[in-house]
């Protein structure tokens, strides 16, 4: 599962995150709630191994992150963690289909064009496979980013502020999509947001900040 013990992250003198204890079982859906600046993104990056904690221990899917470094950590991340960044960050030079293929390719896994095609169809993007990111609406781009995050059937799915700037209906749809995709691959889902509308879809909530 996912466990954090006495984790602190400091930048210079400032402490951006202090978390005494957090545990989530495999397949649980958690909302990470807090105002901006409360360290939500930092927490997600720590779990993904994109940042190293200043103190404390992090274990994800049975792996102590302190025991991984360099290319091995990158490889582990690519295979274990799916991330939907706030700004999505699709690669603009590549098509939608290529953006999806990038996930298994860079993680060193066999490409699964059939899975990519099925995911696109599931998300209502079947006809957008050859499109470039700039030709997509925000909603479409977000669905592509979710599809990319789940391409490798991650054990942990992380989403950073997925509902900001969305109206109520879109907010609902996005959270539904994330939960459905997390369920489909049995992943532990962490959605970081300051959006209180998300509250009612989640039984488990981790509140950050004062």
């Amino acid at each position: 599962m996912l466990g954090l013990k006495n984790v602190r992250k400091r930048y210079g003198a400032g402490e951006v995150l202090a978390l005494e204890r957090f545990e989530a079982a495999q397949g649980e859906h958690w909302l990470v709630l807090g105002p901006s600046g409360s360290g939500k993104t930092t927490l997600l990056h720590l779990i993904a191994g994109l940042l190293a904690p200043s103190e404390g221990e992090i274990e994800v899917a049975g792996q102590r992150l302190a025991g991984l470094a360099g290319a091995a950590l990158d490889r582990w991340r690519g295979r274990t963690v799916g991330i939907v960044p706030q700004k999505l960050h699709l690669v603009p030079s590549l098509t939608v289909m290529q953006n999806l293929s990038l996930a298994p390719y860079l993680a060193g896994l066999p490409e699964e064009p059939a899975r990519a095609t099925r995911l696109l169809a599931e998300l209502g993007l079947a006809d957008r496979a050859g499109a470039r990111p700039h030709q997509l609406s925000h909603g479409q781009a977000q669905r592509v980013a979710v599809a990319r995050a789940v391409m490798n059937r991650p054990k942990v799915l992380l989403a950073d502020e997925p509902t900001s700037n969305l109206d109520d209906a879109a907010c609902e749809a996005t959270l539904e999509l994330l939960q459905a995709q997390a369920r489909a691959c049995g992943a532990t889902l962490l959605v970081a947001t300051h959006d209180r509308r998300a509250h009612r879809r989640f039984e488990r909530v981790l509140e950050l900040g004062r």
Binding site: L50, A71, R77, G78, Q86, P92, S93
Partner: protein, 394 residues
């Protein structure tokens, strides 16, 4: 999906910048290639033309002009020498063989050379059709003359006064030659000459009936009996107020040295172009780093190791360089072929683009090296790029 595929996708996303970089590199490669092909071919052709000729004797004047006019048939001769002097020289015991040359006329821009059978024999020429001349006013065509003019054995040709340049004078209508033979290609200057007996040239110029002491030839190609002759012979010849001696080997070496400066300048120009292309690739990739900050971060997020990002950038530089090298080599060969066609139109020696020199591998390698080197620093920076912040902002 491959790393090369991703690199290519990036290049295709900015086609204009990529094309400019490729073109710049290609121009540098093409310049160096043309120089390589042209200088190598011209040099080897001049060496072949001058092979086995130890000394040229002609009228007093510049030794360079003498070699150019009598061996390479490029320049006009300074004048003629008395036949008797030439005969005396040919009989010298230090001379193994002496081939007389009588110049003065041309046929459609190709020189008519009065000589002996020793001249084609010297270059190992074979007769492709007909035979060699047996009496005056019979002519044998070099292979290129026959091909370019389209005439053959049995045809009649009329010489024009002059060497075939712009100063070509009136035609000798009343003294036509009969073509009795065509030579097979030799790859030497012979291919671009019309050969005949020395006496033909006298006949055409109306001196045939005069006593021998008034006859003249233009030059004498001499082969020494022993290398020792090189020490004394030129001095002896030059002591004669009517004669000039010149060594083809020495004069060609002098010529290469003079041309060499120009070739070096052009080669440096080509190398500067290639380096400029390298700088341009460097700038393009450095710029791309800024543009792709988020892409690189996302790739790390998706599991790419740092080394993979380095490889991605370097591959992009190498792809550009490979395209530049291929295009440059193709351009260089095409340009050499075009220059060759232009030279052929002026009856100058053959220059072909259909020749591959091993040195060209070095040129291609240098181009790839430029691309690789230009991509090195951007590649290292891509490797060190910070991920978490780039993902968080944006």
């Amino acid at each position: 999906m491959t790393l090369a595929g991703i690199s290519f996708a990036y290049l295709r996303a900015r086609p204009l910048a990529a094309a400019l970089n490729v073109l710049l590199l290609a121009l540098g490669v093409a310049t160096v290639t043309v120089l390589l092909l042209a200088s190598r071919q011209i040099e080897s052709r001049m060496l072949r033309d001058a092979e086995g000729v130890d000394l040229v004797v002609g009228a007093k004047g510049s030794p360079m002009q003498l070699v150019l006019s009598a061996v390479f048939h490029i320049d006009v001769p300074a004048g003629n020498i008395p036949l008797e002097e030439a005969r005396a020289l040919a009989a010298h015991r230090a001379v193994k063989k002496a081939i007389p040359l009588a110049l003065g006329d041309s046929f459609r821009g190709y020189r008519i050379v009065g000589t002996t059978h020793d001249y084609p024999a010297h270059y190992g020429a074979r007769v492709a059709a007909g035979g060699l001349w047996e009496k005056p006013m019979q002519a044998v065509l070099g292979s290129e003359v026959a091909r370019a003019t389209g005439i053959g054995v049995g045809a009649r040709l009329v010489g024009a006064h002059g060497m075939g340049g712009e100063d070509t004078g009136e035609a000798h209508e009343e003294t036509p030659y009969e073509v009795v033979g065509v030579l097979a290609p030799t790859g030497t200057v012979l291919d671009r000459l019309v050969l005949t007996a020395v006496e033909s040239v006298w006949e055409v110029h109306g001196t045939a009936g005069e006593p021998e002491e008034y006859q003249e030839i233009t030059a004498l190609l001499i082969r020494y009996a022993s290398p020792l002759a090189a020490a004394t012979m030129p001095r002896q010849v030059n002591a004669n107020p009517a004669l000039q001696a010149a060594s083809p080997a020495y004069e060609s070496a002098r010529l290469f040295r003079m041309i060499g400066v120009g070739v070096e300048v052009l080669r440096a120009f080509g190398i500067v172009l290639m380096l400029a292309a390298g700088l341009s690739v460097f700038i393009a990739l450095t710029h791309a780093l800024e543009e792709r900050r988020y892409d690189l971060a996302v790739m790390r997020m998706l599991g790419a190791a740092r080394a993979k990002l380095f490889a991605l950038l370097v591959l992009e530089g190498v792809l550009l360089a490979a395209a530049g090298a291929a295009l440059g080599l193709a351009l260089g060969h095409a340009a050499t072929g075009a220059i060759g066609a232009l030279m052929a139109a002026q009856h100058q020696g053959p220059l072909t683009g259909l020749l591959w020199l091993n040195e060209e591998w070095w040129v291609a390698g240098a181009a790839l090296g430029v691309g690789l080197f230009a991509a090195l620093v951007p590649g290292l920076r891509a490797m060190r790029a910070e991920v978490a912040h780039a993902l968080a902002e944006g």
